[in-house]
C-alpha cells in the first residue's frame, strides 16, 4: 500500500499534522520548519508525479488512470480506498501543492494560535489531496467533507469582520450542497451496482454504464447542484463573497485556489462522466445558470469597494466560466475549463495573497481609503497589476489561454442557444477589464490617499517567495500552454467517448 506514490499525498499532510502537534504552542520556528519542510516535500512530490506521469504516458501507457491502487475498506458496502490519477488530477495535485506552498509563506506571521491554525490548514490540505487522488466515490466524498469542515474554524477563529456569520453561512451552504451530493452519489452507487452491492469505483461505473436514463436525470441534478454549490454557481454562490471577505489570507488562497476547484472537478468527473445521457439532456439548464454566473459576477464586481469582495465576485465569474466550459460537453471547451481552473486557482491565490499583504500593512481593504500604493510598495503594486492582467486575460498569462480555449471550444456547439450564451460569456472579457482596471487605477496608481501609508514597507522575503512562485506558474502556463493542453485533452478522451455514446 505504501509503495503507491499517491497515498503519500495524504500521508504527508498527516505527518505534517503530527509534527505540528509535537511543536510548542508558540514555537514559531518549529512550526514554520515543519510547514516549510512538508509543503516543500509535497510540491516536490507533485512535480515528480507530473514528470513520472508524462514519462509513463510517453512510454505508451494508455490506461485511463495511472498509479492505480485499491484496498478494501468496508466489505459489506464494497467501499474501497481506491486511488488513481489521469492528466487532469495530476495537474490539480500540482496546483494544490503550489498553493499550499505559497499559502504557507503567505501566513508566515499568523496570529493568534499559529499552531492550531496550521493544524487545520494541514487537515484542509489532506482533504484536498485525498479528493484528487480518489477514484472511489465514497472516499472521494469523505475527503471532500474533510476539506470543508476546517473551513468553519479557520474562518470563524482567524477571520476578520463578520467572521462567525460568514463561517456559518459558508459551512451551512456547502453542507447543504453535500446533502444533495450524498443523495446523488448513493443513487449512482446503488443503481450501477449489482446483486445488492453498491459500486463506488468511478472507472467501474463508467464501464458498466448501467444507470437507467430516467434515474440519470435526477441524479445528475443532485450531483451537479451538489458540486455546483462549491463551484459558486448562481444562485448558490452567495457564500463565496462573505466567506472570502472574512477568511484569513492563506485560507482565502486555498479556498478560492483549490477548494472551489473541487466543485468543477467533481462536476465533470462524476456528474458528467458517470451520467452522460443526463448530461446531454439537461446541460442546458446549467448552461443558463453558469452563463448568468459569468456575467452577473463580473457586473457585481464592478461596484464593490472591498478588495476581497471584488475578487470573490470575480471568482464567481471565473468559476462560472469553468462550469460553463465543462457543460459544453466537447473536448476543447472542457480542456479550456480545466485550464481555467488552473489559471483561476493560481491567479486568485495570488490576488488573495496580495490583498492579505496590503491589508496587513494598511489595515483596510476599502479601495476608497487607499491609493497610489505603487509609490509606497512598488513590488506589491507590480504584482497586483500582474495578477490583474492575468485575470483580464492578457496573452502571456494563463487566463488568456484558458479563456480562448473555452470560447473556441464552446463555439463548436453550433445551435443558436449555445451561440447566444457563448457570446454573452465573451462579453465578460470586457467587464473583467473594467473592474480590474478600476481597482488598479484606484488602489495601485493615482495619488497617495492616506499620508500614514507613506511610512509602510514593501514586501518581505517570504512574501516575495510566495508571490513569485505563483507569478512564475501563471506566466509558465501562459507562455507554454501546449503540453498542459495536450495532457488535459488526452485525459478527456474517455469522457468525450462516453458522452458521444450517450447521444
Amino acid at each position: 500500500m505504501f509503495s503507491n506514490l499517491l497515498i503519500w499525498f495524504v500521508i504527508v499532510p498527516i505527518i505534517m499534522m503530527a509534527g505540528l502537534a509535537c511543536c510548542g504552542n508558540s514555537n514559531m520556528k518549529a512550526i514554520r520548519a515543519v510547514m516549510v519542510t512538508c509543503s516543500t516535500v509535497l510540491l516536490g512530490m507533485a512535480i515528480w508525479l507530473v514528470c513520472e506521469f508524462l514519462r509513463l504516458r510517453g512510454a505508451g501507457d494508455t490506461s485511463e488512470m495511472l498509479f492505480q491502487g485499491s484496498w478494501m475498506w468496508y466489505e459489506p458496502l464494497n467501499i474501497h480506498l481506491a486511488v488513481g490519477v489521469d492528466g487532469i488530477s495530476v495537474l490539480m495535485l500540482l496546483l494544490s501543492a503550489i498553493i499550499v506552498f505559497a499559502g504557507t509563506f503567505a501566513s508566515w506571521k499568523i496570529s493568534p494560535l499559529p499552531k492550531n491554525f496550521f493544524l487545520w490548514f494541514a487537515l484542509l490540505s489532506t482533504g484536498v489531496f485525498g479528493f484528487f487522488i480518489s477514484i472511489d466515490m465514497f472516499t472521494m466524498f469523505m475527503f471532500y467533507e474533510v476539506a470543508l469542515i476546517p473551513m468553519y474554524l479557520l474562518i470563524g477563529v482567524w477571520g476578520t469582520g463578520r467572521k462567525e456569520y460568514s463561517a456559518m453561512k459558508l459551512t451551512l451552504m456547502l453542507m447543504g450542497g453535500s446533502a444533495f451530493l450524498m443523495l446523488g452519489l448513493l443513487g449512482i452507487a446503488w443503481h450501477s451496482g449489482s446483486a445488492g452491492v453498491p459500486e463506488w469505483n468511478i472507472l467501474q461505473i463508467a464501464h458498466n454504464n448501467s444507470i437507467d436514463p430516467s434515474w440519470q436525470n435526477l441524479l445528475f441534478c443532485f450531483t451537479f447542484v451538489g458540486f455546483g454549490v462549491l463551484g459558486a454557481m448562481f444562485p448558490f454562490h452567495t457564500w463565496s463573497p462573505d466567506g472570502h471577505a472574512c477568511a484569513p489570507t492563506a485560507v482565502s488562497m486555498l479556498h478560492a485556489g483549490v477548494l472551489m476547484k473541487l466543485g468543477g472537478y467533481g462536476c465533470f468527473r462524476i456528474a458528467i462522466y458517470l451520467l452522460p445521457s443526463a448530461a446531454q439532456e439537461l446541460s442546458w439548464i446549467f448552461i443558463i445558470l453558469t452563463g448568468i454566473s459569468i456575467v452577473y459576477g463580473a457586473f457585481s464586481a464592478c461596484v464593490q469597494t472591498d478588495l476581497k469582495y471584488i475578487n470573490a465576485y470575480s471568482s464567481v465569474s471565473h468559476c462560472g466560466m469553468v462550469l460553463f466550459a465543462i457543460l459544453m460537453l466537447n473536448q476543447t471547451a472542457m480542456t479550456g475549463g480545466i485550464l481555467q481552473m488552473l489559471s483561476h486557482g493560481l491567479m486568485t491565490a495570488l490576488f488573495f495573497a496580495l490583498i492579505g499583504m496590503i491589508y496587513g500593512r494598511t489595515h483596510t481593504r476599502d479601495i476608497r481609503q487607499m491609493g497610489g500604493l505603487m509609490k509606497i510598495m512598488p513590488y506589491l503594486g507590480v504584482c497586483y497589476m500582474i495578477a490583474g492582467f492575468a485575470s483580464l486575460g492578457l496573452p502571456g498569462m494563463s487566463g488568456f489561454v484558458a479563456e480562448m480555449t473555452i470560447f473556441f471550444g464552446a463555439f463548436e456547439d453550433s445551435d443558436l442557444f449555445h451561440r447566444i450564451f457563448v457570446i454573452a460569456a465573451t462579453c465578460s472579457i470586457v467587464i473583467t477589464a473594467v473592474y480590474i482596471l478600476r481597482v488598479v487605477g484606484k488602489l495601485i496608481l493615482g495619488p497617495v490617499q492616506d499620508e500614514h501609508h507613506l511610512s509602510l514597507t514593501d514586501a518581505s522575503w517570504w512574501e516575495r517567495l510566495s508571490t513569485v512562485t505563483l507569478i512564475v506558474c501563471l506566466a509558465g502556463i501562459g507562455f507554454f500552454p501546449n503540453w498542459i493542453n495536450e495532457t488535459i485533452q488526452n485525459s478527456f478522451v474517455p469522457i468525450v467517448n462516453a458522452l458521444q455514446a450517450a447521444i
Binding site: K169, P241, P395, T405, T426, N482, N485, E486
Partner: protein, 661 residues
C-alpha cells in the same frame, strides 16, 4: 534567409523588456537608457537587413517571376485547440510586413533616442524604457503574425503596452483614467474582433480537411488569403440578418481594427491618450499601433474583397471619421489633441483608400488595386511625418511646459530647428510637392476618384481641412504674437538638446525624400510591381485645395488679429460643439456611468445583497423563527410534559385503533 534574424527580431526587444523591467530598479539611468537605445539600434539594423533582403535580394523564395511572395520564415505550434484550429507563432514576410518592420523599428529607434533627452528628469526612466521595449516587441509580433490568432495575441499585447505607457505618469489621476479608457475602449472593440475570429474559424475549420482548404490551421493568413472563395464557400451559404456569415465575420474583425485605429464611434480614447509622454504618443498613437487597424484590413484584403459589402462599410466609416476628426481638429487648443485628431483623420484616409481598392480588374479603371498601394504608402509616409510632428510638439512642450498654443506664439525665433522641422512636417501632411505626403495623398485621392467621384471629392475636402488646421496650429505656435512672458522669463524657450533634435532632423529629411521611393514597385496587393505616375488632374486639384487652405490659414493666423475670435463668435454653437468633440465623450460617459455602472451594476449588486443573500438569510431566519416557536413546548414544567405525553399516547392509541378497524 535563415530563421536566426527573425527570431532575434522578436526575442531581442522582449529580452530587453525583461532585463529592464526586472533589473531596471538596480540600474542607473544611464545604463538603462544606453542598453535600450543600443538594443533598439541593433533591432533596427536587423529589421533593415530582413526588409532589404526581402525587397532587393531577388531570391526565388521572395520574388518569383516578378511577383513578390509571402513567406513564412518560421511557424511553430503554440497551442492546439482542435486538429484544424492550431495557433502558431511565426514570422510572415511579405511586402507589407517588411515595410512595417522598417517603420516600427525606425520610429521606435527615433523615440528611444528622443526620450533620452525628453524623459531625462522623470522618475521611472528605466521602467519607461522597459515598456517601450515591450511595445516594440508586441508591435513587431503583430505585423509578422502568420495567423489571425497570433495577430490577436499581439493585438492585446500592444493594447496593454499602450495602457502602461499612457499611464506612465501614474500619479496623475488624468493619466490613469486616460489609460483605463484607452484599454477598455479597445478591449470592447477587440471583443467584436474575437467574435469575428470565432465565426470565421468555425466555418473554415468545419470544411472537410481534404477539401480545397487543405489541412492547414483555420487561422492561417496564407491559407485564408490564398483561397478566399473557398472560405466563402465553406460558410455553406449561411446567412445572418440577410448578410452572408463571412460578411459579418469580416465586419466584426474590422470593428477590432476600428477600436485600435480610433475610427468613429470608437475614437474617444485616442485624444485622451495624449496624457502619456509625448514620445510615446509619437510612437504608439501616431505612427505604429493606431495603424494596426489599417494593417489588419490590408492583411485580410483578399477576404474583404470577396465580400464587397464589408469594403463599402470600411469606406463609409473611414469617410465619416476623416471629416469628423478634421472638423474637430480645427477647434482644439491643446496642440497634442490637434495632432491626435489629425492622426484619426489621416488613418481614416487610409481606410477609405483601402475600401476603394479591389483585387479584381474593374471596368474603366486602369488599376483597381491602387487604393491598397496608396493606403500602405500613406501609412509609411504618415508614420514618418506624424512622428516628426509629435516629436516637434514634444520639443515645444519641453520648452514651454504647456500643451496649449495660447501659451505659445512667436516661437520661431527661439527654436529654429524645431520650427523648420515642424514646418516640413506640416507641409508634408498638407500634401505639398515635393514632400512625402503629396505623393501618397495623391495616389489615395486618385484611387478614390477611380471608385466613385463622390469619395474623391469628399476626401479632397478633408485634405483641404487638414492643410487648414495644420497651418492654423503652425502659425499660432510659431507666429501670431510672441508670448510676452518670454521676454521677462529667465528661462527663455530654446531648442531641445541634440538627442531630441537629431531625430527631428532625421525624420524631417525622411519626410522630404520618402515621396520619391518607388513604393508601387515594392508594395502592392498581389505582389506584382506597379509603376506610380502622378495623375495630373487629381494632383492639380488637391494641390490647389491645399494651397488655398494654407493661404486662408496664413491670412487668419499669421499675425495677431481679431478675425478668428470674431468668426468664433459668429457661430458659437458650432465652435462649442467642435471644441467639445461633438459631445461623444459626454454620450459615452452617460451610457457607461449612468446606465451601465449606476443602473446595471448597482442593480445587480443590490439584487445579490438583498434578494440572493436575503433568500439565504431568510431561510436561516425562518428556521430560527420555527425553533423559537416550538421551544415553548419545552417549558420545563413536568406536568406539562405529562400532559403532552398523555395526549400523544391517546392519539397513538386512537390511530392504532382506527388502523386496526
Amino acid at each position: 534567409m535563415g530563421i536566426t534574424l527573425p527570431i532575434l527580431i522578436l526575442a531581442l526587444p522582449f529580452t530587453m523588456f525583461l532585463i529592464l523591467g526586472i533589473g531596471g530598479v538596480k540600474m542607473s539611468r544611464k545604463l538603462a537608457g544606453t542598453l535600450g537605445i543600443l538594443a533598439n539600434g541593433a533591432l533596427a539594423v536587423m529589421a533593415y537587413i530582413v526588409a532589404f533582403t526581402y525587397f532587393f535580394s531577388g531570391e526565388a523564395q521572395f520574388i518569383l517571376d516578378g511577383v513578390r511572395q509571402q513567406v513564412q520564415l518560421f511557424d511553430v505550434t503554440w497551442l492546439a485547440f482542435t486538429e484544424r484550429m492550431v495557433v502558431n507563432i511565426g514570422f510572415l514576410l511579405d511586402p507589407i510586413s517588411a515595410m512595417m518592420l522598417v517603420v516600427i523599428t525606425t520610429i521606435s529607434f527615433m523615440v528611444h533616442l528622443y526620450s533620452w533627452g525628453y524623459m531625462e528628469h522623470e522618475p521611472g526612466f528605466q521602467r519607461y524604457y522597459a515598456f517601450l521595449a515591450l511595445f516594440t516587441f508586441s508591435m513587431l509580433g503583430l505585423v509578422v503574425a502568420t495567423n489571425i490568432f497570433q495577430m490577436y495575441i499581439f493585438w492585446e499585447l500592444v493594447g496593454v503596452s499602450s495602457y502602461l505607457l499612457i499611464g506612465f505618469f501614474y500619479k496623475l489621476p488624468s493619466a490613469v483614467s486616460a489609460s483605463k479608457k484607452a484599454f477598455i475602449v479597445t478591449r470592447f472593440a477587440d471583443l467584436f474582433m474575437l467574435i469575428g475570429i470565432l465565426v470565421l474559424s468555425y466555418y473554415v475549420s468545419h470544411t472537410p480537411a481534404d477539401g480545397p482548404l487543405g489541412g492547414a490551421s483555420a487561422f492561417n493568413f496564407m491559407m485564408l488569403n490564398a483561397q478566399p472563395t473557398n472560405v466563402l464557400a465553406s460558410t455553406l451559404g449561411a446567412t445572418f440578418l440577410s448578410g452572408s456569415v463571412l460578411t459579418w465575420a469580416m465586419i466584426l474583425i474590422f470593428v477590432g481594427g476600428m477600436g485600435k485605429s480610433a475610427m468613429l464611434p470608437l475614437h474617444i480614447w485616442l485624444p485622451d491618450a495624449m496624457e502619456g509622454p509625448t514620445p510615446v504618443s509619437a510612437l504608439i498613437h501616431a505612427a505604429t499601433m493606431v495603424v494596426a487597424g489599417v494593417y489588419l484590413v490590408a492583411r485580410f484584403f483578399p477576404l474583404y474583397c470577396i465580400v464587397p459589402d464589408s469594403l463599402t462599410f470600411i469606406t463609409v466609416v473611414g469617410a465619416i471619421t476623416a471629416f469628423y476628426a478634421a472638423v474637430v481638429a480645427c477647434a482644439q487648443i491643446d496642440i497634442k489633441r490637434i495632432l491626435a485628431f489629425s492622426t484619426i483623420s489621416q488613418i481614416a484616409f487610409m481606410m477609405v483608400a483601402l475600401g476603394c481598392a479591389y483585387n479584381e480588374p474593374i471596368e474603366g479603371v486602369h488599376y483597381s488595386g491602387l487604393g491598397y498601394m496608396a493606403g500602405m504608402f500613406h501609412l509609411f509616409t504618415h508614420a514618418m511625418f506624424k512622428a516628426l510632428l509629435f516629436l516637434g510638439a514634444g520639443a515645444l512642450i519641453h520648452a514651454v511646459h504647456s500643451n496649449d498654443y495660447t501659451k505659445m506664439g512667436g516661437l520661431r525665433k527661439y527654436m529654429p530647428i524645431t520650427h523648420i522641422t515642424f514646418l516640413i512636417g506640416c507641409l508634408a501632411i498638407a500634401g505639398i510637392w515635393p514632400f512625402s505626403g503629396f505623393f501618397s495623398k495623391d495616389e489615395m485621392l486618385a484611387a478614390m476618384f477611380n471608385r466613385h467621384w463622390f469619395w474623391g471629392a469628399w476626401m479632397t475636402m478633408v485634405a483641404g481641412l487638414t492643410a487648414f488646421y495644420m497651418f492654423r496650429m503652425y502659425y499660432l505656435v510659431f507666429w501670431w504674437e510672441e508670448n510676452p512672458e518670454y521676454k521677462t522669463s529667465h528661462h527663455k524657450p530654446h531648442d531641445a538638446p541634440w538627442q531630441m533634435s537629431l531625430p527631428l532632423i532625421i525624420l524631417a529629411a525622411v519626410s522630404c525624400v520618402a515621396g520619391f521611393i518607388p513604393f508601387g514597385e515594392l508594395v502592392t496587393y498581389n505582389g506584382e510591381p506597379y509603376h506610380i505616375h502622378i495623375e495630373a488632374p487629381v494632383a492639380a486639384t488637391s494641390l490647389t485645395v491645399a494651397v488655398l487652405a494654407i493661404g486662408l490659414a496664413t491670412a487668419m493666423y499669421v499675425k495677431k488679429n481679431p478675425w478668428p475670435t470674431r468668426l468664433k463668435n459668429m457661430f458659437p454653437a458650432l465652435w462649442q460643439a467642435a471644441h467639445r468633440r461633438f459631445y461623444w465623450d459626454e454620450i459615452y460617459m452617460f451610457i457607461t456611468h449612468n446606465i451601465i455602472f449606476n443602473i446595471i451594476c448597482r442593480g445587480i449588486a443590490w439584487f445579490d445583497r438583498h434578494i440572493i443573500d436575503g433568500a439565504m438569510d431568510g431561510m436561516a431566519a425562518v428556521t430560527n423563527w420555527c425553533s423559537v416557536r416550538i421551544k415553548g413546548m419545552q417549558s420545563g414544567t413536568v406536568t406539562a410534559y405529562v400532559r403532552w405525553y398523555f395526549i400523544g399516547a391517546v392519539l397513538l392509541a386512537a390511530i392504532t385503533w382506527i388502523c386496526l378497524l
